[in-house]
Amino acid sequence: MESALTKRNTKPSQKMKFLEWQREFEAALTEGDPQTLRQRVDAAEAAIFLRSQISVGRVERQAMDAATQKLRAIQKNKLGYPDWNKR
């Protein structure tokens, strides 16, 4: 099944590039068990972090930023992380 992220990038090579971190990200997004959610989010965050250490294209960078924001929302809304942006 194609995700929204891979659909946006029509070139097969781009799709392949995304898979490593995107697999972890999608696993975090679809995780229903609260007990393993933290693990999934950590794994996705780590995969994005490792990927960000190399130079990536603008499209992938934007996708990684968007994924990071979604992971932040999960941390805040489902894992009880304090909101650093709240004054």
């Binding site: 950590d42 992380y81 650093w84």
Partner: protein, 144 residues
């Protein structure tokens, strides 16, 4: 027998604070190959960082922003109270003027983006020893 000139390197003590084990591991490896740094502890949230800093008295804290229990900004404010001389680098994916403003308010010394991890070393040197950092081309995004 030739004279051996022993050069004593003052090791700077580093406390790593990040809720993600993989991030801490990578940063620890980065510092491990540098003779002038020693990672003396790790913490996975701000509260744990403050507790450890009291005992370890690090020269430098590498501080994540989004963490459970206590986030990076809250931790920085507490760290300033218990270890006022310790330098703090906010190590985060978050960027923008709002983050920089909040970092300044929390008395954070500098910000390094997680996508630019190798800059942690040169940045840390710039912060701890500005003259040495300048010689090595270290550059930091100053928060203060």
């Amino acid at each position: 027998m030739p004279a051996v000139l022993a050069q004593t390197v003052r090791r700077r003590l580093v406390l790593l604070v990040d809720d993600n084990t993989a991030v801490r591991t990578l940063v620890r490896k980065l510092f491990a190959v540098e003779a002038d740094f020693e990672v003396v502890g790790e913490a996975e949230n701000g509260r744990e960082a403050v507790e450890k800093a009291v005992n370890l008295k690090p020269d430098l804290v590498i501080l994540d922003l989004a963490m459970p229990v206590m986030n990076g900004f809250e931790a920085a404010r507490e760290l300033r109270k218990v270890v006022p001389d310790t330098k703090i680098i906010l190590f985060t994916v978050e960027e923008g003027s709002e983050v920089e403003r909040m970092a300044r308010e929390a008395s954070i010394d500098a910000i390094v983006l997680k996508g630019q991890t190798p800059e942690l070393i040169s940045g840390a040197r710039s912060l701890l020893d500005p003259e040495e950092g300048e010689r090595n081309g270290g550059e930091l995004r100053n928060a203060s």
